[in-house]
């Protein structure tokens, strides 16, 4: 009875009948030939929307993921199947591959993030391996078919879109372009030639971005891409090893116009491969891997053949001299260096000399060097080892002004693993200490900080600089007076330094009573941890827009003018879509936010390169939130970018706001944001 609506096709399907042209017969023969290697992939669970990364105008783009089956291609008889990473961008709970109606549990083994390729493994033999069409035998103009399984089950023929090859070596040489209709209907499926051989795996690709969904906006447009199967087979062993292949980077920024100018080094980043190999600003790269490059486009095309961890030979020109560099090992876009940390926390509102240490992380760099709470740091500089015979370095002396701001600047100049020299005053004795700075990725857990030790302000007595804001629940508007924000200022928000939490409510939960609920929940913590809570109101039912940034910035500025806000503890905090907005602002408003706390949300629009600001992340997810895997993966990618990220897990919870334990964790995390 369940299939009562199914229309049993009482007509058989044309197969090379009637007045069919030879080309149509050829198409059908080719499709039938390759069809057994084209498999159906079903998924369950996963998040509802996926991020497409940032668009050309820097907007955050989200896409609702379809519910249907997707497509893969058998490339090896031991159960190896290639597909597009787009098909799994929503991090599904379960993946099942159907071959001829037989179903097999599959897992993702490796990915190539530069080409949106994913390799799946199933535990049965797969003898129907697709035959490869070498790129050298392809040419623009030849007829090709794009095959997919979304519209057809694993038992019927795959869907077919016919077109021609529009170009080879597109998108930095990574893709074959076709005018066949490429869309989620066939992403992961094959682009097939008339001989039934697979030219490439269909993927969304974009010259602009590298996210899993970048390029989807071109679906069905007549501009579609596939990654040559020949290339995929070359990287197959690496993918089988479980590698996530990323771009290989030299650690240089090129100078000038990417379309017009030659590949001249603008900056060779300190500590990264090119600089370590002796390259400098102004060097002109003339060949990559033995191939001459005359402009930046050619340079990028040659570089796109390599992945991080690969070794490349370079020739560069300095003045009239050509220099060869052999076997330079490439790093990934975001070499996970983390942030340089000493493992100390300064006392706030301190008027004494230098920085008074409030707390030292056990086993941190400073602890191992013998620093303790109560010590004062009077000066700091990166420690340099100079070549023998250089004049002696003058001793470190306290500069006229040295406080938290100056210390933060000094920390910005060093990378983890480098040495730092401090002038420390301990029990009245001054001494110089040098030690290696550690990397922080938020893996150590939260520091054990007592909020009552945070400030050095005496209870009594105002300073002339003190502000006298209205306290409690207040509201204000933006300059244009068409948007409203609310805020809660604890008593003393004008005296002691306060952190600032900017709350981004979920869609439809921005009414006055919703915000009052948030204040009720937070009020005790706001007083205890000395925090101001700012709550801009979104006027759209659908939630936050990127265009709300100006209004939000204005409201932050208003609070900064009103209260004594600690620039080292400004946090964007949100739940669900509000959490995504918080993540967006963290990356886009460089230097303003020191932390992003996203609850039940997947931070999107991660930058390609590690940001240079000291941004940190706090993520929270319920262990039954269908986004759990995606949120865990975000933590990994954030750390991959060198961004410290703490993940708070809530047992027995789905996608929901913080419980009281979570709220306490968040507050402790914020309390540690000004750690050095």
């Amino acid at each position: 009875m369940i299939l009562s609506l199914v229309n049993t096709a009482s007509f058989f399907i044309i197969g090379g009948l009637l007045a069919q042209s030879p080309i149509q017969n050829a198409i059908q023969v080719a499709v039938n030939r390759v069809a057994p290697s084209v498999v159906t992939i079903e998924t369950s669970g996963g998040s509802e929307v996926i991020s497409l990364g940032r668009g050309p105008r820097d907007q955050d783009k989200l896409l609702r993921k379809g519910l249907g089956a997707t497509t893969g291609v058998i490339v090896h008889p031991d159960g190896w199947i290639l597909s597009s990473a787009f098909n799994f961008a929503n991090k599904p709970t379960s993946i099942i591959v159907s071959i001829n109606q037989a179903k097999h549990i599959a897992r993702i083994v490796g990915t190539d993030t530069t080409r949106s390729i994913a390799l799946l493994k199933i535990q049965v033999p797969t003898p129907q391996v697709a035959e490869v069409a070498p790129v050298s035998q392809l040419q623009p103009g030849q007829t090709v078919m794009a095959l997919g399984r979304t519209l057809s089950g694993s038992e019927s023929p795959p869907s077919v879109s016919v077109g021609i090859i529009s170009a080879l070596n597109r998108i930095q040489g990574k893709a074959i372009q076709t005018d066949a209709k490429i869309s989620p209907v066939n992403y992961g499926g094959p682009l097939v030639d008339l001989a039934g051989r697979v030219a490439g795996i269909l993927v969304p690709l974009s010259p602009q971005g590298e996210g899993e969904g970048a390029g989807i906006e071109w679906y069905d447009s007549g501009i579609g891409f596939s990654v040559p199967l020949e290339h995929c087979l070359k990287i197959l062993p690496k993918l089988m090893d479980g590698k996530d292949l990323k771009r290989g980077m030299l650690g240089i920024l090129l100078k000038g116009d990417p379309l017009m100018d030659p590949p001249e080094v603008g900056t060779a980043q300190t500590g990264l491969p090119a600089q370590k190999a002796g390259m400098q600003n102004g060097d002109l790269i003339v060949s990559v891997g033995g191939n001459r490059v005359e402009n930046q486009t050619q340079f990028q095309r040659e570089m796109s053949k390599y992945y991080s961890g690969d070794r490349v030979n370079l020739v560069y020109k300095r003045g009239d001299k050509e220099v060869s560099v052999l076997g330079l090992e490439l790093i990934s876009p975001s070499k996970s260096q983390g942030q340089a940390k000493l493992g100390i926390y300064p006392v706030r509102d301190d008027v004494g000399l230098g920085i008074l240490i409030r707390h030292v992380n056990p086993k941190g760099a400073a602890d191992l060097a013998g620093l303790a709470s109560g010590d004062r740091i009077l000066a700091a500089r990166p420690f340099m080892v100079l070549p023998a015979g250089s004049p002696a370095i003058p001793a470190l002396i306290p500069p006229p002004k040295f406080g938290r701001a100056e210390m933060v600047q000094a920390m910005d100049r060093i990378l983890p693993g480098m040495e730092m020299e401090l002038l420390v005053q301990k029990n009245g004795q001054k001494s110089s200490k040098s030690f290696k700075v550690k990397s922080d990725l938020g893996e150590e857990g939260l520091a054990d900080l007592n909020p009552t030790t945070a400030s050095n302000r005496p209870i009594q007595g105002d300073r002339p600089s003190d502000k006298k804001p209205q306290t409690g629940l207040i509201s204000g508007t933006n300059n244009a007076q068409d948007r409203v924000w609310k805020a809660f200022l604890p008593k003393g928000a004008g005296r002691e330094m306060h952190g600032l939490v900017v709350w981004f409510h979920p869609p439809g939960r921005g009414k006055d009573n919703d915000l009052e609920e948030i204040v009720n929940l937070w009020e005790m913590q706001l007083n205890r941890y000395r925090l101001v809570l700012l709550m801009p109101q979104s006027d759209a039912e659908t939630g936050w827009n990127v265009s709300d940034s100006t209004f939000i910035n204005e409201s932050v500025k208003a609070i900064q003018e009103m209260a004594n806000i600690d620039p080292n503890r400004i946090v964007a905090h949100g739940f669900a879509q509000g959490g995504q907005m918080a993540g967006y602002l963290g990356f886009s408003q460089k230097g303003l936010y020191k932390g992003v706390a996203a609850v039940g949300a997947i931070p999107s629009n991660l930058p390609r390169e590690a940001p240079d600001s000291g941004l940190q992340f706090f993520l929270s997810t319920g262990d039954r939130d269908p986004q759990l895997e995606a949120i865990k993966a975000s933590q990994k990618s954030l750390r991959g970018l060198g961004i410290p990220c703490f993940l708070h897990g809530m047992p027995q919870s789905g996608q929901q706001y913080l419980d009281l334990g979570g709220l306490e964790s968040l507050n402790r995390w914020m309390e540690g944001l000004d750690g050095l």
Partner: protein
């Protein structure tokens, strides 16, 4: 983003034909006069006030899609030669998403009106993936009066049930359709002709709809041979467009007997909380002695298929379960660690006081932490 790429093969364009095949321009010249432009009420909620129809008889029978245009009345058709005639709606068949119209006006207006031979088209086999096709329609109302309608070329991408495959989505037509790889389904194109390379009618160009499987726009046509099974007073009947054309009336099933309440039969499975639209159907608890327990279902199993139909979420599972009666056998495939296990559940009558499943709204609300 939706891109409208029109491949307009211009009237009189030179396309060399294959041996035994008419040139594309010959096919065009012979076929476009069989397509009429339809005008009616529209403009509400962005819906076009124009559409397309195909002529299927010398006396002016026209087939089109049963869309909003049919609601308005006062329909007018522009014939290939620019003649304007009133149109009468003879019958609408919601089950087939098709409407049968009759061209009116002065008798001589319809003299020598070219038409598709529907009987002959009906006897032809279904076209398979890869077959080259042409679509004739008044997309975007580009053509007016005697101007020829637009022609696009593409290929059959697939033949089968579309989003209706799972049977739970909002779809205008649940039978098998042609999906084509050209962007044919544009405003005003619904009811146009999908033909093979020789101008033989294959189907009616469908509406503009988003495909739930991929969340992208999909271009489909309702085949001439379209059939669906519908429940009538005497049980199930199979009806097709041919029935509509021959009887000139829609199949009128007796008013549906209101089922008391749509309650899923008792399996004894409690799933995890359904928090968002795509919560995977993990089993939280199996009540001892219940049909599920007897079948061998265990807590923490993940339901992946119900009678072979993929179950991506709890919502899908709930809607599928409503289709079963107590005593039916339900084949359930569950994922248990790294194994797929197939089990048969024979559900019982729903427990007293069971309520229809509650479908949660898309946006979830904070539950914990908020006093």
């Amino acid at each position: 983003m939706r891109l409208h790429f029109l491949t307009l093969v211009l009237f009189g364009g030179v396309v060399s034909g294959l041996p035994g095949q008419e040139s594309l321009s010959q096919v065009f010249n012979n076929t476009y006069p069989k397509v009429v432009k339809i005008y009616g009420a529209g403009g509400i909620r962005g819906l076009a006030g124009y559409g397309t129809g195909v002529v299927i008889s010398a006396d002016g029978l026209v087939l089109t899609v049963n869309n909003h245009l049919m609601d308005g009345g006062d329909l007018v058709a522009h014939l290939h030669d620019g003649t304007r005639v009133p149109v009468k709606v003879l019958a609408r068949e919601p089950e087939l998403d098709t409407a049968l119209l009759k061209l009116g006006g002065a008798k001589q207006a319809l003299d020598d009106l070219p038409y598709f031979d529907f009987e002959e088209a009906y006897k032809k086999p279904i076209a398979g993936p890869g077959v080259s096709v042409l679509a004739f329609s008044n997309a975007f109302q580009i053509a007016t009066r005697e101007e020829p309608v637009s022609i696009m070329q593409g290929n059959i991408a697939s033949y089968g049930r579309l989003f209706g495959r799972i049977g739970i989505f909002d779809i205008p037509f649940s039978g098998n359709v042609y999906v084509v790889d050209a962007i044919t389904n544009n405003p005003g194109a619904a009811g146009g002709a999908l033909t093979d390379r020789n101008g033989q009618l294959l189907g009616l160009v469908g509406r503009e709809v988003r495909n739930e499987l991929t969340n992208t726009w999909v271009n489909y046509a309702i085949p001439v041979q379209a059939q669906v099974d519908v429940r009538g007073p005497n049980g199930m009947s199979r009806i097709g467009i041919m029935d509509l054309v021959r009887k000139k009336e829609s199949y009128r099933p007796a008013p549906k007997v209101e089922k008391p309440v749509d309650v899923e039969p008792y399996t004894g499975i409690r799933l995890v909380s359904n928090l968002i639209d795509r919560t995977p159907p993990f089993i939280e608890e199996v009540f001892p002695g219940s049909p599920a327990a007897i079948a061998g279902i265990k807590p923490d199993d993940l339901i992946v298929y119900v009678d072979g139909i993929p179950v991506p979420s709890i919502n899908t599972y709930r809607e599928l379960l409503l289709r079963y009666k107590p005593g039916d056998k339900i084949r359930v495939d569950v994922r248990r660690r790294d194994q797929l296990v197939g089990l048969d559940i024979t559900p019982l009558k729903a427990l007293e006081g069971s309520k229809p499943p509650f479908r949660i709204p898309l946006i979830t609300q904070p539950s914990g932490g908020r006093p």
